[in-house]
């Protein structure tokens, strides 16, 4: 195989920036021309992006696909450290490469009618494509979304357009209810009786939602974040403890069935 063949296999793709703008406080929306991944990606999958070449930070950065339309990928990213700061500086035409689509995404079992999507902060990112896919299949989507303040609420249009209901909670009450998104979940589990709960956000939140779903007897899928070096299953830096042993978030996840996860808060990536 020639080296180009790696890219022919749709795993390594050279992409260019179509747009990159601020969409919320500390959050950017990156639109990439990435035909191969855009056509192959499933909801909940991610890409491993090489942001800079001769920078002092060497590792790729994993980002969920928020939306895929035509040849384009939409990535919602929060500016945290070196990598995302460099990403925020990228202008139209800038070139990068990525590996993807990677990982095991959201399961959409046949015959489900109602779903509840719970998003905490940037947890909304991987739920965007899911909401669209469910709506397309005529599955009813309810979204419970949390953020620190209204300025940091993301993907509102997408959820408004695809969900039957969108409930919001903010820490400061600047939008929706004051408090945590988890406050909304019990009520929605009771009123909407969803067939599946999908959750993504800070691991403390995801874990609570998983408990709430279990209590209500509703199956729950969670998307988990781990520090990732390779992104392809080779380095074992991203392990998640599950009932069936240690799994790799990059290939066996990032989406897991909540019942299988042996939660360990210490595994949450560093705060910023």
């Amino acid at each position: 195989m020639t080296l180009d063949a790696a890219t022919e296999r749709m795993l390594l793709e050279h992409v260019s920036v179509i747009a990159n703008e601020r969409v919320a406080e500390g959050v950017g929306l990156l639109v990439l021309e990435s035909p191969r991944v855009a056509h192959a990606v499933a909801p909940g999958q991610f890409v491993h992006l090489r942001i800079e070449r001769d920078a002092s930070f060497i590792l790729r950065r994993p980002f969920s696909i928020h939306r895929a339309e035509g040849n384009r990928l939409h990535i919602l990213y929060q500016v945290l450290g070196d990598g995302t700061r460099a990403l925020a500086r990228k202008e139209r035409g800038a070139e990068m490469d990525l590996i993807g689509p990677l990982g095991h995404g959201w399961e959409m079992p046949d015959g489900i009618a109602h779903t509840l999507l719970v998003a905490g902060g940037l947890g909304a990112a991987p739920l965007g494509m899911l909401a669209e896919a469910l709506a397309e299949r005529g599955v009813a989507v309810t979204v419970a979304q949390g953020a620190p303040t209204v300025e940091r609420l993301v993907a509102r249009e997408l959820f408004e357009a695809t969900a039957r209901r969108v409930l919001v909670a903010t820490d400061d009450g600047s939008a929706g209810e004051r408090g945590f998104v988890t406050q909304l979940v019990d009520g929605l589990l009771a009123s909407d009786r969803p067939d599946v709960v999908y959750a993504c956000g800070p691991e403390v939140m995801t874990r609570i939602v998983a408990d709430q779903a279990r209590a209500a007897g509703v199956p729950c899928q969670v998307s988990l974040e781990r520090l990732m070096a390779c992104g392809v299953g080779a380095c074992l830096s991203c392990v998640v403890a599950t009932t069936s042993g240690q799994k790799r978030a990059c290939v066996d996840g990032p989406v897991f069935s909540a019942e299988d996860v042996l939660w360990d808060i210490s595994e949450i990536p560093p705060k910023h």
Partner: protein, 311 residues
């Protein structure tokens, strides 16, 4: 082999003891698993040999997470030799590797002298295993691991014990966390090692200044990547000048020039580790780059580079 688009042909073959390889490019243990994941990006039949993730006697869970932290031009890891044990390895990984045209070097880890020996014994009967690399330099396990690599006596003892149970080419992987790596290399050579490989990771630590916690759950871990290359090149040069057996050089190799630098310092083979994470095609890119480098410098055999540094 003849290279397209050029009438000069470069002999890329090298020897590690009795093991002859089609080219000097190996994978660094623990960064390439057993090759399956990366076979999606590169053809294994273009690589000199696959060096597997460390294999221990029994399944091993490894360390708590977070297991990695990025540092300036490098990364820390404390994976801690997580692996399913030698039986599972023989049942799953070896058969898969057997379907591919690539020599297999199994990296052996142990938490005790007896474990190194037991794993080596178990692998002796496996035709799919072309050589053993004994990791006496893992900074990420509490007992064993690095302890065996930091004194001449312990390093010699492990080498002698494993040598006694294997006829396969024996490579001892040395720890850089020592005062005099050349002296340790000499002591394993004296016990019959066919080659030495270096460097394993430098023991390091990083602390999060927001949480005040170590960035690795285990506290300390192994530093790899471009940051450590100058230390690795220096140690390869020291060791190559101290022993008669071949040296496998590694530590921060990202480019063809990096690989050439290690060979000039005295490495017969080079291994690519952290670079796989950055560029999953790094191994084959560097193999192609080495051929091209030799052509450009009218070098007919890549082995002519070994130890050719001028003073």
């Amino acid at each position: 082999m003849t290279i397209e688009g050029s009438n000069i042909s470069v002999n890329m073959r090298v020897r590690l003891g009795t093991l002859e390889l089609r080219n000097p490019l190996l994978t660094a243990s623990g960064t390439f698993a057993s090759g399956q994941e990366y076979s999606a990006f590169v053809d294994l039949d273009r690589i000199g040999a696959v060096v597997t993730k460390g294999v221990s006697l029994n399944p091993w869970p490894g360390n708590a997470s977070p297991r990695i932290a990025e540092t300036a031009s490098g990364m820390l890891n404390s994976i801690g030799l997580q692996n399913p044990g030698v039986e599972a390895f023989c049942a799953k990984d070896l058969p898969w590797l057997a379907q591919h045209d690539v020599p297999v070097i199994v990296n052996v880890s142990g938490h005790s002298m007896a474990e190194y020996v037991a794993v080596a014994e178990r692998l002796e009967s496996e035709p799919g295993v072309d050589a053993l690399e004994i990791n006496i330099s893992c900074p990420n396990v509490d007992e064993g691991g690095m302890a065996f690599g930091t004194t001449c006596t312990a390093a010699a003892d492990v080498t002698r014990a494993v040598r006694a149970v294997t006829a396969k080419p024996l490579i001892i992987k040395l720890s850089p966390n020592v005062t005099d790596i050349a002296e340790i290399a000499r002591s394993v050579e004296a016990e019959g090692a066919d080659a030495v490989s270096l460097i394993n990771t430098l023991l390091g630590m990083a602390i999060d200044t927001d949480t005040w916690r170590p960035k690795l759950a285990r506290g300390v871990g192994g530093l790899s990547g471009p940051a450590i290359k100058p230390v690795a090149v220096r140690m390869v040069w020291q060791v190559a000048n101290a022993v008669g057996i071949p040296v496998v050089g590694m530590g921060g190799i990202m480019s063809t020039e990096d690989a050439v630098e290690f060979m000039l310092a005295g490495a017969t083979c080079v291994a690519v580790g952290t670079a796989n994470f950055v560029d999953p095609t790094a191994t084959v890119r560097i193999v192609e780059g080495l051929e091209e480098y030799c052509r450009r410098h009218s070098i007919s055999a890549v082995s002519d580079l070994v130890g050719a540094v001028k003073f």
